[in-house]
Amino acid sequence: MKKFDRDRLILAFAGPALALVVAVVLTSVVLLVSGTNPWEPYRIMFESASYVDVQVLIVNQAGTYYLAALAVAVGFRMNLFNIGVDGQYRLAAMMAALVGAAVELPGPLQIALIVIVAMLVGALWSGIAGILKTTRGVSEVVSTIMLNSIATSLVAWLILPKNFGVQPAGSNNLTTGDIPESGWFPGLDMGVEAGEIYGFTFVAAACGVIYWFVLARTRFGFDLRATGASASAAQASGVDAKKMILTSMLVSGGIAGLAGMPTLLGDAHTYSLDFPTGIGFTGITIALLGRNNPLGIAFSALLIAFLDKSSASLDQFGYEKEIATIMQGLIVISVVVSYELVRRYGLRRQQQKVGEELAAGGALKTEKEGAAL
């Protein structure tokens, strides 16, 4: 039994390791084909990541990614595909910024208000998809794609100066107005040159612990995983599948709402046209890479953030930084393929093992029968 567990552990690591190797090799092939040095970009990226300021950037970016990936992962555990994390994140960040700029409360209260608004808006937006799925049977994949685009339009309309937006003097940008300083989340100062790590990054880490605890140690988490594994079996054992779908959609949207908080509370203090987009889609990549496991997601978030931030320096050395995007795409594909291959291999191994044991048992039995005769 113990040996079998070790095999599973090896298999669990073999998947991502295989995927990363394949992705690196494929990226090198792309580099070779385009007539550049296939190894130099990696060296430049690692060297760039050895500077403290880049490291701080990576950690900060990873915090945002981590929350987005957790939001996706909650859905995945339930067999729900929340493609709408991106829309939920943007709408939530914008509404939270609006509320944050409009009211001024003493420190912690202001932050709490902004965070709660963000979670509620995110949950509201994903809740639409949840309600459509539970009451009308609409696939959450399609409805969340639609909701993403609707969120884009809604944000674009709300941020117009004639509605709720503000146009800073002498700029083409539109913002939602600045959040007063009481709503700034204190960060961890890493020295003058390095900048600071957003305080909310630690909240993100705490969310990971909560995610683990809820899923692994509570009745709700058990129900959620059971429904994800087999909705009909869960229903038979008394789980209200519809309620679970709606709840997990709301939770997913709530976490997606949090994803904008590190940037909003730690750095930007306003939602503007250049607020980062596409975080939700990166979150899907990271959740897949991390296999919905809180620790796995943390490593994946760091990896993707590393690719993002350390590739910025490639331009100075005459390499195209877009190679990092290609690498991300290749990582997703090789990750999902390698997981599937490893899963099949594991399954076959298990079947073989059980088959052998049964055959051995059967042989024993026939021997006994033979002796009895």
Binding site: V30, R136, S143, M146, F281, I284, T325, G329
Partner: protein
């Protein structure tokens, strides 16, 4: 717009005489279009927004609908064979890039060919990952989208950036494809349309839009819709392909090579999306621009669902989305404002139908929304363009919410299939 009868689910198990959902035969489709035209004409007379059925408007709507329709057609091919294709957007992006890259060097038709090849490559990747490796279709589609963005940006750095008249985000100009205008008829229709008569002028506007400055590629794209219908619903090949989407295990038992059919379907799907992308780059704008597709792959998917996985319905959806887009582009605010009235009148018709069927609660709800729209129309002069952007998506959500139970996607769509492991 939805004309489904409630019999789709009940008859799904039986072989059907005519393809598609009962009620959406070509004649019914024509009837819907005629009714819609009469309604639009009425709205035009009331609101005075004469541009909503002008020849220019119709031509614009057609040009905007084609890429959406091609993406939708691509989605149709893949999903009829049981493979969900979220990667349409990425395949379209590949189509714009390859189309423009070959187009500016060797002429527009070579560009079209390369656009198709580019999209088909994306389709092939999707097929390898989903069919051979059995990975979740949506995951693979998302990956294709990410990869397409990265690959085209990377490639632009080497090609367009160093070309004359191009930059890393934009290609040099591509020669235009021949446009045809039917002499005589076109002028006559423009004359008729300028008189603003009820229905006659609107019909003239539609015909005028169809015979003036029509790109040859548009004609090809339009022919692909009946072509797809014929291939998928009238040939043994199509029957086998659709059987892979409905019940692959049964298809396998009858000797159909399910893997091969899925591969063919997904590669064609990518090719069609690529053609849609090439159309954007070569016909719509004449250049490649980064981010040019702007989510049209997703709208195409929406059009396909809107059309209940049928070519005719899909074309109707694509036409509707293209029309809303073009309303906004041409003199926008006033035209779209008139659409509020159209929507309100449509809802009144829905109320009448629901009352007839004695569905009182939905009737009251629809009446309330209709009243709100009338008030909105009366109190304002224009609709914010951002709301117009969202219109196709909101429409799709509403259609899904109101008729999801009546829509019927291929039964085994999105499900994993392994040869020889059917239960």
């Amino acid at each position: 717009v939805t004309t489904t009868t409630g019999t789709v689910a009940a008859t799904s198990g039986k072989p059907r005489k005519r393809g598609g959902r009962p009620g959406l035969t070509p004649s019914v489709l024509l009837l819907i279009i005629a009714g819609a035209l009469a309604l639009v004409s009425l709205v035009r007379l009331i609101s005075g927004a004469d541009d909503i059925t002008s020849a220019g408007q119709v031509a614009g709507a057609l040009e905007l609908a084609i890429p959406i329709g091609l993406a939708g057609l691509g989605g149709l091919w893949a999903e009829r064979a049981g493979v969900v294709n979220i990667g349409l957007e990425g395949m379209m992006i590949l189509g714009t890039w390859f189309g423009a890259w070959a187009g500016y060097q060797w002429g527009p038709w070579t560009g079209v060919l390369f656009g198709i090849i580019g999209g088909a490559l994306g389709g092939l990747l999707h097929a390898v990952v989903t069919v051979t490796f059995g990975v979740n279709h949506i995951v693979s589609g998302v990956a294709v989208n990410i990869l397409a963005v990265g690959a085209t940006r990377y490639l632009s750095e080497f090609t367009f950036d160093t070309a004359e008249g191009g930059s890393s985000k934009q290609s040099p100009r591509i020669d235009a494809i021949t446009e045809i205008t039917v002499p005589g008829l076109s002028d006559w229709m423009h004359d008729l349309q300028a008189r603003h008569w009820f229905l006659v002028s609107d019909l003239a506007g539609v015909i005028g839009g169809l015979v003036t400055g029509l790109s040859l590629l548009t004609v090809v794209a339009l022919l692909l819709v009946p072509g797809t219908w014929w291939l998928l619903w009238r040939t043994p090949f199509g029957l086998r392909l659709r059987s892979c989407g409905e019940n692959p295990v049964a298809a396998e038992s009858l000797g159909v090579n399910v893997y091969r059919y899925k591969y063919v379907a997904v590669v064609i799907s990518g090719g069609l999306a690529g053609l849609g992308g090439a159309f954007l780059a070569i016909v719509s704008t004449g250049i490649y621009q980064e981010g040019q597709t702007g989510g049209r792959g997703y709208i195409g998917l929406a059009a396909m669902i809107f059309g209940n996985w049928m070519p005719g319905g899909m074309a109707l959806g694509a036409g509707l989305f293209g029309f809303t887009d073009s309303l906004k582009l041409r003199g926008g605010a006033e035209n779209v404002h008139a659409m509020l009235l159209l929507l309100a009148i449509l809802l009144v018709l829905v109320v009448a139908r629901q009352l007839h069927r004695r569905k009182y609660l939905p009737a009251v709800l629809s009446a309330a929304v209709a009243a709100l729209l009338f008030v909105w129309y009366g109190l304002t002069d224009q609709v914010p363009s951002q709301f117009v952007d969202a219109a196709p998506y909101v429409t799709t959500l509403l259609v899904l919410a109101l008729s999801a139970q009546r829509l019927r996607m291929p039964k085994a769509n999105g499900l994993p299939y392994r040869k020889g492991q059917g239960a």
